[in-house]
Symmetry: D2
Subunit: 351 residues, 4 copies
Amino acid sequence: MNFASDNVWGVAAPIMAALEATRLGADGAYGGDDLTSKLEARFSEVFERDVSMYLVPTGTAANALAAAAYCPPFGTIFCHGESHLYYDEWGAAEFYTGGAKLESLAGDGGIVDPGMFSDVLDYFRSGARHRSTPSLFSLTQATEFGQVYSLDQISTLTGLAKASGLATHMDGARFANALASLSCSPAEMTWKVGIDCLSFGATKNGVMGAEALLFLDGKAHDDMEARRMRGGLLMSKSRFLSAQLLAYLADNLWLEMAGKANDCAKVLGAGLARSKEARLAWPVAANEVFAILSNKQDQVFRDAGAIYNPWHATGPDRVSVVDDGEILVRMVASPETPMESVQELLALTIK
Amino acid sequence: MNFASDNVWGVAAPIMAALEATRLGADGAYGGDDLTSKLEARFSEVFERDVSMYLVPTGTAANALAAAAYCPPFGTIFCHGESHLYYDEWGAAEFYTGGAKLESLAGDGGIVDPGMFSDVLDYFRSGARHRSTPSLFSLTQATEFGQVYSLDQISTLTGLAKASGLATHMDGARFANALASLSCSPAEMTWKVGIDCLSFGATKNGVMGAEALLFLDGKAHDDMEARRMRGGLLMSKSRFLSAQLLAYLADNLWLEMAGKANDCAKVLGAGLARSKEARLAWPVAANEVFAILSNKQDQVFRDAGAIYNPWHATGPDRVSVVDDGEILVRMVASPETPMESVQELLALTIK
Amino acid sequence: MNFASDNVWGVAAPIMAALEATRLGADGAYGGDDLTSKLEARFSEVFERDVSMYLVPTGTAANALAAAAYCPPFGTIFCHGESHLYYDEWGAAEFYTGGAKLESLAGDGGIVDPGMFSDVLDYFRSGARHRSTPSLFSLTQATEFGQVYSLDQISTLTGLAKASGLATHMDGARFANALASLSCSPAEMTWKVGIDCLSFGATKNGVMGAEALLFLDGKAHDDMEARRMRGGLLMSKSRFLSAQLLAYLADNLWLEMAGKANDCAKVLGAGLARSKEARLAWPVAANEVFAILSNKQDQVFRDAGAIYNPWHATGPDRVSVVDDGEILVRMVASPETPMESVQELLALTIK
Amino acid sequence: MNFASDNVWGVAAPIMAALEATRLGADGAYGGDDLTSKLEARFSEVFERDVSMYLVPTGTAANALAAAAYCPPFGTIFCHGESHLYYDEWGAAEFYTGGAKLESLAGDGGIVDPGMFSDVLDYFRSGARHRSTPSLFSLTQATEFGQVYSLDQISTLTGLAKASGLATHMDGARFANALASLSCSPAEMTWKVGIDCLSFGATKNGVMGAEALLFLDGKAHDDMEARRMRGGLLMSKSRFLSAQLLAYLADNLWLEMAGKANDCAKVLGAGLARSKEARLAWPVAANEVFAILSNKQDQVFRDAGAIYNPWHATGPDRVSVVDDGEILVRMVASPETPMESVQELLALTIK
């Protein structure tokens, strides 16, 4: 019963098979190999537009490079105050940009509130002589609270951003889960609703360790080569990243896996919602469940060996009132999570 | 009728005389001169404790060096969301620290709310695995809204900071104005209430251009020599900074000037408070007046040639409700501001 | 006949098998897994001393983190002018340190000349008021020209470094090749000869993509956690790095592979040395061959499909005189390089 | 007898008078004042071309901002290995660029050798895949060894730089001294020989503390506003910098002062050259004398109270052979240096 995170799990069989398939032989190093070329072409297909691709080993790296691509050292990046970019990367965006400011926005369930965003943009315009220049807006899809932006919500926010001259970035650490949830196309969820640049996550969804920074804005981003290298992020045997992602994108594997994780989370969420000593902090929209448990229920789960993380219930956001005797917890499903574990956990709910 | 800022004005006669007095002759460059040694000793007298002093040409430089002294690149600095450090230095603290995160706090009139500070510190402690390490707390005395922290208020906040292992910094761009307002000693307003480090401002108070970063914590800060030099902040003819500050601290000049500016602001504030078409957003505590004017009153002032700045009334803080037909403005007094200008302006208030 | 680099090749079977063995199931993310703990213990065994280990995806990352561990933003790192750290990482060390200076040293075959190093240290001490503080010395073993420092040579250089208060780092991108060449123990080649910190390379020697930064100095380097994370270098599924390196270190695999590559290079070098139209720029000491070919010989090789890189013959060093009609080339052997390829190439040498 | 440096001296009377003249009254802060506008126009006159001007308090600041204007974090700056930019600013250029690499060049007397520069550029082009991108060339006029580039020498070097796509910068800490030495126009010594950007120094030549970064390339450098502010380099009462420089440029004051300092150095140099126990390391071309003294002569000078600095005779350059029993020293003249001091010193030379 491990619901700690989707990245505590392993690797899907076709991904590992793809690594084995390219195990031997020589090909170009540092991305100069055939598989990497194929992968870039494949991404262009998947996104119905020519993309520029930069492979990196982690999602934090993709986010930070995206930040550096659009935000100068003296710029400001706007993002949710509980986003990964803001709070969980130990200042990676600040590092890669050379000291940009991250300005936190709020909104229920990790979804940026457009009214607040608009107010903050106004604030920056007024008397802004020596303020860090507004440069980039970043949102996370699915959010850090397992919510999924609708296409309209994305459009509204990117519209505000672009009206103020900002570029737009999507942190897609759980891109596939969001896509499976919305049942739309990758293009529809990104550039068609105003997204310039995407951190295309895969590791949380059954991949060993491979992420892609994708530029969808049709512009050159030549400095990325340098920034990735000096970040220590350019893997010499890049073909082993490309092999993972080619297999991931083949035969609908990525969406099947995301769907499986989402379904698992849905069952888990529904079960908890029915129980007397638990309720959902937010509806389950992707592969994460945020539940408020009574301390008693929490103890029962823990005693039975269930693994999951308590969550901070008092952000700048404070979206959920956790009463005395309660705890907010996060439970995450991965493609590999056994449905049996979910059933086992739900069997422990106090009726 | 120029109330735009205290730094639009000039230089007090004794300051200029001190420059003239050291105009000729040779002495050590880069701070190796007699006046600089004397000044450091003088500061130790004034603060009743051995201080380490680093002269710099601007207050932004002092703040940014203080940030770098206590906060690593992967650290967090807590400060008010409308502080100079946060919003008006184009990311100087981010630059000098090498990419630290500045976390904004709120509170009426620029005074950090201790409850909110405490909540945010708790938030950082919970699930904080990859968050930028809490490192420094900075407050501004007097605040950017002309308010003055009481000694108790400072103690409370530095107590919270130190309980979380943070160092503490005071941005004293208007240090003398606050001191004159509280009628306490420099020691009482700083290290005796838990301040480790002070940006000692002087330029806004009748000095040409000289600020001092003062460490009051009794610790060595050897890296400051390097950081000041590589910031391009070490003036080769440093004796001309020291001469200014020695004259500033002599014969009570600094406090007299601050008192004069404060008095001027008080008269201005009291006069506006009495008028029908204006009210104060906050009480006048130092040398700044924040007033809410009717648009009509504003126009009358402008038409008569008065100079002052509109202020953003909708910060994260939104401390003051400005109704339709009103405007929030800032009027600042300096030691050089003629009381006649104040009277002239007040004569224009609509009865 | 691909001799372009050792990182154009693939992955040894036991390494891939180790990945497969840990493919499924849940374990701690971000290095909190069993395999990672085991690996750190294993490294302590291998190095006969408690080491602190930080896994990273690339050698550039290991080098840059090592630089940041010992060198402040205002410091100087001394290294060979043709070292990877200096010239081939697009400023990674400058980036991770926050703007340190890299001071280039010279010496034949990439081996730092102790006389020159000593002179440069003297130069820094004289009139050094505003020079970037000497902080770290880094050498590469085996060097970028395939040479191997003797233990005495390392001792001499680290002795000079330590006498000037510098820390010492070894870039061990080809650590195993050097070790196999010297037939000494890992401890003997590192901390016993004054090395504080090691970039332990593996990727060039049959591993997919896993490197370890090892601190051998017995000191805490707590900032590394933060710096690795903000560099985007902490892989969430770290167990897949650890699995690779555990297999690498098991059953003498790493040294066998390095020995195989070295042998291959030796045969290649000996064959070229015998030919009329080629000579060695330096003796073959590890798995790299630097040969000076006549243009005619070069053309014959190229026409037959041989792959290798021309090398710059005129560094600050200019160690090798390449005459008109000649070219300096680098040929690299990996554990996977077929000895048949070597024979095929040698058969093309002009008698 | 103080020949330690030109910046140990004071301020010319007309400069101080100009400060006094603008002492009182209100004008725009942060450069929004009349004098600053006038100064920019004056510079355009002096340089016979529209210049963009950024005032800063130090020459190091001007150099570092120039570096950031043209060189990205992943770029390389080429400059003499004994230049101020390279060795005497504690890594300011590395800091302001965000981690660029400074590549040292050599050449007698601080004059970059074009052959070596050309070789290094070639080296960067060969196999340069992951090298910090060549971006900027910087030279110092007059050099750190008191030499003055001829216009042809500047043209040759800027020609090489531009052929490789580099921008060009002149560190003019002693610009006036060089100009007085060459008897040419500011335009002839800068943009007419290929200089894009100039650190216009004044502090070493009788000014209190004011330097100007001048862009002569006709391009916008909008990021300079931000970079200057976040460097803590924007003085709020900027009119006091402008007043200094307007007086400096008025009535030929700057060139008269430089001429006076140069003359003084010439007399000093000629006298030393005639003595038995001293010789010149380089001819005197501006206001600095580099002399090789016998230890005996040095002692005689010191005993009589003469102040000057020993100089490192063994740079990467090692241009001057100092024999046993000798010492290389630097003696600098300023406009304020009394000719009597020179005569007094020369009277002490051993016949």
